[in-house]
């Protein structure tokens, strides 16, 4: 089935495709590279380059607001990732491996948050918390605060769905005869899950967790609506800074955030290769001329 790419001369269409692809890669990475480069700019002014300096990084680490926002981001991300991964994985399993009454309603409920735009989600959560806090105030006499709690609860609400989608895709790919074989070999439902299903969907669970983590760290709108005074996440803080005007400090913060994301990706990839469960086809794809 293969026509090895090296044997035939490249057709004009192939050259075009290749050129287009390299352009897209350049488009992806040029802004990122620029940002990283500028974070080392000694000059205040973004448009003028006066030499390499790490002053913005030292300024960043000395900035209490930034550090506090970073801490809040990490706490919220950790909380929401853990909870939504567990609940999302359970949801995927319940939907894919079981049949029960009301399953269709449950299915809709799990998928709905994905198609809600984050503005609407922000409004929803704000009104919900405001209303609930009024009620709690009425009953118990004290009003809970908006803060890490409300932010985490909101993130979990939309992250469950994303984790569920990813894990469910992986579950669906799983050969059902493997779980049947486990049962045939005397495994109880739980044993089959623990020894066969879970290890094989791990890449999906990890992928879902990574997605939840990223969405939590990325979130601006929902967080800004349900954050309180004194509790803000890093992206919301940066957003506020940017609206007031560009300072190179933001470049340094941005670069740090970029580096963190890239590290996350590379770590997760490393883990995926380690388990080696993803089967790749041996044959090479055909190239159209």
């Amino acid at each position: 089935m293969t026509i090895s790419a090296g044997v035939r001369p490249k057709s004009p269409i192939e050259r075009l495709l290749a050129a287009n692809s390299w352009l897209v890669y350049a488009f992806f990475y040029a802004p990122i590279m620029l940002l990283i480069g500028l974070s080392f700019n000694a000059n205040d002014n973004v448009g003028v380059w006066t030499g390499v300096s790490t002053r913005w990084y030292s300024e960043m680490f000395r900035n209490d607001d930034v550090m506090r926002a970073l801490r809040t981001s990490l706490i919220v991300a950790a909380l929401s990732t853990v909870v939504s991964t567990i609940l999302g994985t359970a949801a995927a399993i319940a939907l894919e491996r079981f049949r029960f009454r009301g399953q269709r309603v449950y299915d809709g409920l799990v998928y709905l948050p994905i198609i809600i735009p984050d503005v609407t989600m922000a409004v929803m959560m704000l009104l919900f918390f405001a209303q609930s806090f009024n009620i709690i105030d009425g009953i118990f006499g004290f009003k809970p605060l908006f803060g890490i709690g409300t932010i985490s609860l909101s993130h979990i609400a939309f992250n469950i769905s994303f984790v569920a989608v990813v894990v469910r895709a992986r579950l669906a790919q799983l050969d059902s005869s493997l779980e049947e074989a486990a049962a045939d070999l005397y495994a109880t439902r739980w044993q089959a899950f623990r020894h066969v299903t879970l290890p094989l969907i791990m890449p999906g669970v990890a992928g879902g967790a990574l997605l939840a983590l990223t969405l939590s760290l990325d979130d601006v709108v929902v967080t800004s609506f349900v954050a309180g005074p004194g509790a803000t996440t890093l992206p919301v803080y940066v957003f506020g800074l940017v609206r007031r005007g560009v300072t190179p400090l933001i470049n340094a913060v941005s670069t740090v955030m970029l580096a963190a994301s890239m590290a996350l990706v590379l770590i997760s990839l490393f883990f995926q290769r380690g388990t080696g469960t993803v089967a790749t086809t041996e044959e090479e794809p055909l190239e159209e001329t």
Binding site: E180, A183, D184, L185, T188, H195
Partner: protein, 354 residues
């Protein structure tokens, strides 16, 4: 001899579809029993009900006398070899084979010992630490077998396990499996659509079609005395000639010829006379025929050489007949358009009442 598996009145419905229709089946202890039939006949569904992956809509299923129709698969003394092998890709061969024992919470020393013994039996101990993707199809198949046998089940279920192998390997494995079964003495219930496989390996065969069990018997019985057109046609090649029952032990062919053949039909009932191609012998029209044989004259219209046999298509008054003649040095080879007489021993004909 006690029966290993008994299905009584087992029916399975999937929504509107009747997959298995009122099945009555007994598999004897220690026998190699095959369920044979075309795709969609219900043989795999029946196997899955014995395994516990499906539950009967109605009926009873006992394993060694104990009612188990609604038991989950992990509570049955039965193991399955899957068509796709279903080896756990994230475990080594050793871990795969030992899985059942581990689920039963045996001591790890015991597990190691039994795994080694079983891997020796299928000649794969040298690959114990490999992962399934590193093994060939034939090797994977043997691991699947080992994984099931190591648990010493009362019944071993095999779902078309040789389907993915090429011809030579398949034939070698058929012999190996049969030998293994006889050595180990476990009851085998084997599902296949390959009638050759069923004939060569089984002690008894159950032929299924459209959810029903049409005939159960030994290979020779099924092959030489099919009781329905379907069974006659499904196994091997068959010549089917329409006829009418004359009296208790004769039938009249369409061309008026009367054949002596025992049957249970009413006089005047339409029946079919079934004769296997290899039971025919061809003679030249002017040859003297041995006494006691029935015959029909015809003309050769096709000859196919199969190395060990010649297959002739002969046009006769009873339709197109297929004749198989062994390729021996002394036989006469007939040419296309040659007139011939097709003869057979009356006892070779089976009368089928449908």
């Amino acid at each position: 001899m006690t029966d290993s598996v008994v299905l009584t009145g087992v029916t399975k419905r999937f929504g509107d579809v009747l997959a298995v229709d009122d099945l009555h089946l007994s598999v004897a202890d220690g026998e190699f029993f095959s369920l044979l039939g075309p795709s969609g006949c219900g043989k795999t569904t029946t196997l899955r009900m014995i395994a516990g992956f499906e539950f009967p809509t109605s009926g009873s299923l006992t394993i060694h006398g104990e009612e188990m129709a609604l038991n989950p698969p992990n509570e049955r003394p039965v193991n399955t070899v899957f068509q796709s092998y279903a080896l756990f890709p994230h475990m080594t061969i050793e871990e795969n084979v030992g899985f059942g024992l581990k689920m039963k919470k045996l001591a790890s020393a015991d597990i190691a010992q039994r795994v080694k013994r079983t891997l020796d039996m299928v000649q794969l101990s040298h690959r114990a630490a490999a992962s399934p993707s590193q093994l060939s199809g034939g090797q994977q198949q043997r691991v699947a077998l080992a994984r099931a046998l190591v648990n010493e089940p009362q019944v071993l279920l095999l779902d078309e396990p040789l389907g993915a192998l090429d011809l030579k390997l398949r034939q070698a494995m058929q012999v190996e499996l049969k030998d293994l079964q006889q050595r180990v003495g476990i009851t085998f219930v084997y599902v296949t659509h390959d009638q050759d496989e069923a004939l060569t390996m089984s002690d008894r065969i159950g032929v299924m079609s459209d959810g029903s069990l049409l005939q159960v018997g030994g290979p020779q019985d099924i092959y030489e005395h099919p009781r329905s057109r379907f069974v006659a046609d499904f196994i091997g090649e068959i010549n089917l000639m329409p006829a009418v029952a004359a009296d208790r032990d004769s039938v009249k062919l369409l061309d008026g010829q009367v054949l002596m053949a025992a049957h249970g039909a009413q006089p005047g009932q339409a029946v079919t006379v079934a004769i296997r191609p290899e039971r025919f012998t061809l003679y030249r029209p002017d040859d003297e025929l041995p006494s006691g044989r029935s015959s029909i004259s015809g003309k050769i219209i096709r000859r196919i050489y199969h190395g060990d046999v010649f297959v002739y298509d002969v046009e006769t008054a009873e339709g197109l007949l297929e004749v198989k003649e062994e390729n021996r040095p002394t036989i006469e080879i007939f040419e296309i358009d040659a007139p011939v007489t097709v003869t057979w021993n009356p006892s070779a004909a089976t009368v089928i009442e449908d």
